[in-house]
């Protein structure tokens, strides 16, 4: 890790790295796609921080993380919100997107992060979350919406994806034009969003565990 980073920044990086741990612990009984995502995200975050500490290039891992993240989110959202008759098509589309991402990234360079495709994937997460929220509104399973785990997961992923989407979209341009800014964005926007997302997912798992919900009808 570079020495010129302030204590606050370092704390933020460590907090972001470890923020997945409560969610991993809270959801360990669930073993759902979202829990697998949290677990793999935690592993990737730890791996990224260790590589950063050792000053080893870590951009290759980002591509793998994009892929894993996309698969986990797709499995979760298709299972949770997609109507039964469209599930098959949705899985085919997911498969097609994975194939496209793998081929496109392999053609460009496996050792460099594929930011543009990453932005596309984050755009898809935003779409998933909007569909999830629409379903939450439609079904009204819980009298208090903040007790609905699906709602909590959607909010967590929506905010995380919304913030990250623009960073990823402009990453390539900013990398050359304003390198300092992009670093700041990763540190002070993406890290807090990552912490926020992980804590919200942990809260969602706690709600699922407590199962103290009240159906409206």
């Amino acid at each position: 890790m570079p020495d010129n980073l302030s204590l606050f920044t370092k704390v933020l990086i460590y907090l972001s790295t470890l923020s997945g741990l409560p969610a991993v612990m809270a959801g360990r009984n669930k073993r759902s796609a979202i829990w697998l995502y949290v677990l793999l995200s935690f592993i990737f975050d730890v791996n990224g921080t260790v590589l950063r500490l050792m000053d080893i290039p870590r951009f290759w891992a980002s591509n793998l993380f994009f892929l894993v993240e996309f698969l986990c989110f797709s499995c979760y959202f298709i299972g949770a919100i997609c109507p039964q008759k469209y599930k098959k098509i949705a899985y085919y589309l997911t498969g097609a997107m994975v194939v496209y991402f793998v081929i496109h990234t392999s053609i460009k360079s496996v050792w460099h992060t594929n930011f543009v495709d990453g932005a596309i994937l984050y755009g898809i997460y935003i779409f998933y979350c909007l569909c999830g929220l629409a379903k939450v509104i439609q079904e009204i399973e819980y009298v208090m919406i903040e007790r609905n785990p699906t709602f909590i997961f959607c909010v967590a992923i929506l905010l995380y994806a919304s913030g990250s989407f623009i960073i990823l979209l402009f990453e390539n341009k900013l990398l050359y034009l304003e390198n300092g800014l992009i670093l700041s964005l990763w540190l002070y926007v993406r890290n807090p969003l990552n912490i926020f997302k992980n804590l919200l997912i942990a809260y969602g798992f706690v709600l699922m565990n407590k199962n103290k919900w009240v159906r409206s009808s």
Partner: protein, 258 residues
């Protein structure tokens, strides 16, 4: 470029937060709306129960007053006549006593008939409605015709009694409020169930006024109709046939109800 990106991130985050707030507020509004509907339905249910209880109480009071003021008074007179006859052995007094006793028996029979029409139990809905129409026509104030193109089979007791009571209540309302000069009642047995049609030339109820009245306080008779309709899963509708008002009661008949 940098400021543009920062602005774009801020806009995206604000939009997301806005969407989340919208979802929360929208869901709260929908739930509140559902709660309101539920509370209105509960209130209406309570009103219906209260109307039913009140109707029952009023019927009891009517029977009590008929027994006390009418039958009771006649029997007291008989007692006095018999007391007098014991002393004088007057045949005229005995005849008067017998007449009064006959009168009492007739009154008791009328009360009993109002409570549970014997004809309905013995001969069914069609015969009861024929008798009901003939009885009201005898008053000379109104012409009541009953028609039944296809003879009705015996239906389930509850269906027969409910339809009969509903027709009684509707006819009574027409006589009281509609100032009609003629009423036609028709019963039709259809594959879907029993259709009963009442047509009258008075000032009738419309669908809207019926709903308004059943939702308002009071209107016990109409609420009793609603209760009876519910008990046999029947529906009621109001429309116009030329200048005449028409009330249609559709009673579904399951195999059990036949």
């Amino acid at each position: 470029m940098g400021s543009l990106v920062i602005t774009a991130i801020a806009v995206m985050l604000l939009l997301s937060v806005g969407i989340v707030f919208f979802v929360v507020l929208y869901q709260r509004r929908v739930i509140k709306h559902q709660e309101d509907i539920r509370s209105i339905n509960e209130r209406k249910q309570i009103e219906l129960i209260q109307a039913s209880i009140r109707g029952e109480e009023e019927e009891r009071m009517r029977i009590a007053s008929e027994l006390h003021d009418d039958v009771g008074a006649t029997l007291s007179s008989v007692r006095l006549f018999l007391h007098a006859a014991r002393r004088s052995s007057d045949a005229e007094i005995l005849d008067q006593s017998r007449d009064l006793l006959d009168d009492s028996i007739r009154k008791v029979r009328n009360i009993s008939h109002k409570l549970q029409p014997a004809l309905l139990q013995q001969l069914g809905l069609q015969a009861s409605l024929e008798s009901f129409a003939a009885m009201l026509s005898k008053t000379g104030n109104i012409t009541i015709e009953y028609s039944c193109p296809v003879p009705l089979p015996r239906l389930n007791d509850n269906v027969e009694l409910s339809v009969y009571r509903i027709l009684q209540e509707l006819t009574s309302n027409i006589l009281k409020h509609a100032h009609a000069s003629s009423i036609t009642i028709e019963t039709l047995l259809l594959p879907a169930g029993l259709r009963t049609v009442i047509v009258h030339d008075g000032e009738g109820l419309t669908e809207t006024s019926y709903k308004e009245l059943t939702y308002k306080k009071g209107a016990i008779g109409l609420k009793n109709i609603v209760n009876r309709l519910k008990s046999v899963n029947a529906s009621i509708s109001f429309d116009m046939q030329g200048d005449a008002y028409r009330i249609i009661i559709e009673t579904p008949l399951s195999e059990k109800r036949l």
